[in-house]
Amino acid sequence: MISHLGSYSLIFCTIFAFLIILQSAKLIGNQSKIFPKKIYTIITLQLFFVIFSFSCLLIAFVSSDFSNITVYNNSHTEKPFFYKISGVWGNHEGSLLLWLLVLVLFLFLFILDTKNYDNKYKLLTVIFQEIIILGFLLFIIITSNPFDYIFPVPLEGLGLNPILQDPALAIHPPILYIGYVGTSLIFSSSLAAVINNTVNSEWAKQIKKWVFLSWIFLTLGIMLGSIWAYYELGWGGFWFWDPVENVSLMPWFCLTALLHTILVLEKRNALKNWTIVLSIATFSLSMSGTFLVRSGILNSIHTFANDPSRGVFILTFLFFLIFLAIIVLFIYSENDKKTSNNFNILSKETAVLVNNWFMMYFLSVVLIGTIYPIFLEVFTNEKISVGPPFYQKLMIPFLIPFFIFMSFGPRVKWINDKLKKINYTQIIVFISSLIIAYIIFTNSSVSYLFSSFLIAASIFLVLNSLRDFFSKSIQIPQKISHFSFSILILSILLNGIYSEEFNSNMKVGDELKFIDKTIKFKGINFDEKDNYKLLRGDFEVIDSGKNTLNFNPEIRIYNQPVISTSEADIKTNLFNDNFIVFTLLKDNEIFNVRYQHKPFMIWIWISIIMLAFGGTLAVIKYGK
C-alpha cells in the first residue's frame, strides 16, 4: 500500500516537472518583478510529493515491509533501527530518490533566496533545474523504481551488507549528495545567467554562497567516506586511489577552482567564460561520478550493485545536458575578447589563475587515471591497472611549486601589487622551515632528499598561512581554510612518511618483535550480539619505554547476509594512531595480524573539519 503511494507521488512529480517547464517558458517574456505565484505553487507541491515519496520508502524500511523489493533486498527485521533508516539510501534506488529530494529542495531554497532578483534569470534557472529533475525522475521510474513490489511477500529480507552498517557510512551518502546536487544548481543558474546576459559581479555575489555550500558538503562527504575506509576496510590507509574515491575527488578539484574564480568574477568582473565552463564541468563531473559508480564499469571496493542499462541511461542524459550547455554557450555567450583585459603578473587575479592551473592539473591526473583503463579496454581489449604509484608519481612533484605559490597567493593584492626588494620576514620564514624540516629528518630513520624538500615546502606553507592570520587584508574564513589546508597537507605527508606497519601470521600465545616494540597475542574469546557473532582478540603492544597498550580487535560474523568482517581496534591520541586488525586464516588457529603506527592521523580529520568550518563562516558572511 505504502509503496503504491510512493510510486504515484513520483508520477505526480513528473507531471509537475513538465508543467513547471512549460509554464516558465511561457512566462519568461513577462517583465513583472514578482515571481509567478503559479510556478511557486507547483514547485512547492513538487517538493511536497518528493518528500512524501521519500517518507513512504522510509516507512517501508522502518516497518520492514518486504512486499517492497528494495526493502527485501537491503533490509532485515533484526537490523538495528538506525541502519534501517540509513538503509533507505544505502542502495541504488533509494540513493537516487535522495538525489531527487535534494535536487527539488535546493531549487525551492534557491527561489526563496533570490526574492529580489530578475525574474527572467530565475525562471531560466527553474527551467534548467527542472530538466535535470525530470531526467532523474524518468531515470528512477524507468530503470530503478524503489517502489517495485514482490509477490508472494517474503517473510524475511536479505539484509544490508555488514560493512555498510556503520555510522560514518550511514551519513556519508546524504552529505556527499548535498555537495553533488548543489553543483546542479550552479550549473542551472550559470546557464540562466549566460542566456540572460548577466554573468557579472552581481550574479557571482548571488551564486557564490551556493558554491561554498556545495564545497563544504562535498569536502565533509569525502572525509566521511575516507574515515570509513580507514577503520572499516582495515588496511590502515585512508585513501586508496580507488575509482569510486576518485570520482568524488574530481568535482572537488573543479569546485575548489570555481570557489576561487567566482571571487575574481565578483571583485573584478573578469574570467566570465571560464567561470561558466567551471560551473558546467563541476556538475558534469558530479553526474559522471554517479554514472561511473552505478554503471559497474569500474572495478572497485565500493561497487555493490550495478546494472548496465542504468549506466546507458545516465550517460545519455549526461551527454544531453553537456550538449545543451554547449549550445547555450555557443548561442548566447558574449564575446570575451572585448570585455577581457589582461591581468598584471603580480595581482590576486593571477594568483587565482595559478590556483586554477594546479587544480585543473590534479583533476586531469585523476580523471585520466580513472577513465583511461576503460577506454583502453574498449579500443584495444587490453586491461591495465592504474593504481596509487601512478597518482603519486604525477602529483607529488607538482606539490612543491603548488605549496610555494599558495604561500604567497593570499597576500597578493588585487589589480596590481608591488614586489618589495628584500622581504626579511619571508627570508626568516624560509630559513625556519628548512630548519624544522631538518630537525624532523634527523630524528627519523627515513631520509630521502625529495621528501625533505616536500616537507620543507609544506612547513613553509604552514608558517606563511600562520603569518596570514596577522594580515588585515585577508578575510577570516580564508585564513582558517588556508591554514587548515596547510595542516592537512603536512599531516598527510608526515603520516605517509612515518607510518610503520607490521604484518604477520600469529597463533595465540605468540610474541613478536617489531622495531622497538613487542606485540603479544594473549588470547581470543567468543561473544554473541543481536545480529552477529564475534571473535575478540586480546593483544598487547609494549614499546621501548615499557608503555603497554591493549587492543581488542574483532572478527564479526553477521547472520544476514552471512559475511565476516574485521573490526580494527584503534587507539587514538593527538600524536598518533595505533591500530590492530586481525583476520582468520585457517583452522581457527592461525591469524593474520596487522599492527600499524600512524602518526598525526587525527590531524587529517581535524584539519578537514576546520577547512569546512572556514567555508561555513564564508557562507554565513555571504548569506547576510
Binding site: 586508496f240 580507488d242 598584471n344 593571477t350 591497472s385 593504481g387
Partner: protein, 122 residues
C-alpha cells in the same frame, strides 16, 4: 684470547647481517605485493588481501626473491602469466604513452594560457 674474540665478533657480524637480510627481504615482499592487484578481490592489493590467490602470489614472490630475481623480473614474470592488469604501476609503453603524457601536456597548455593572459607592468 684474540682468536676467541674474533669468532664472537664474526658471529655477531653474521647474525647482524642475517637479521638485516631478513628485514630487507620482508620489506621487498611488502613493496612488491603492494604493487600487485589481487585478481579475485575487488580493488584490493595482494598485500592487503588474505585470499587464497593473494597468499599464493606472496609465496611465489618469496620463492622468486630466494632465487635471486629482481623486482622487475618478478613483475615481468607475473605480467606474462596474468597480464598487465595485475600491476598497479603502469609501465610506459605504447598503450600507456597517452596516460602518462596527457596530464603533463595539459599542464604545459594551461601554463601557456595563463602566460598569454598575464602582462608585466613595471
Amino acid at each position: 684470547m684474540n682468536n676467541k674474540f674474533n669468532i664472537v665478533y664474526l658471529l655477531i657480524f653474521f647474525i647482524f647481517i642475517n637479521y638485516s637480510f631478513a628485514d630487507e627481504k620482508i620489506k621487498r615482499i611488502d613493496k612488491v605485493s603492494k604493487n600487485l592487484r589481487c585478481l579475485i578481490c575487488q580493488g584490493q592489493s595482494v598485500y592487503d588481501s588474505q585470499s587464497e590467490f593473494a597468499l599464493s602470489i606472496r609465496d611465489l614472490i618469496i620463492k622468486k626473491i630466494d632465487e635471486g630475481q629482481t623486482d622487475e623480473e618478478i613483475y615481468d614474470y607475473l605480467k606474462v602469466k596474468y597480464g598487465d592488469w595485475i600491476i598497479y604501476d603502469p609501465k610506459l609503453d605504447k598503450n600507456t604513452i597517452l596516460l602518462w603524457s596527457i596530464p603533463l601536456i595539459l599542464f604545459i597548455f594551461g601554463g601557456l594560457l595563463i602566460f598569454r593572459k598575464v602582462i608585466i607592468i613595471k
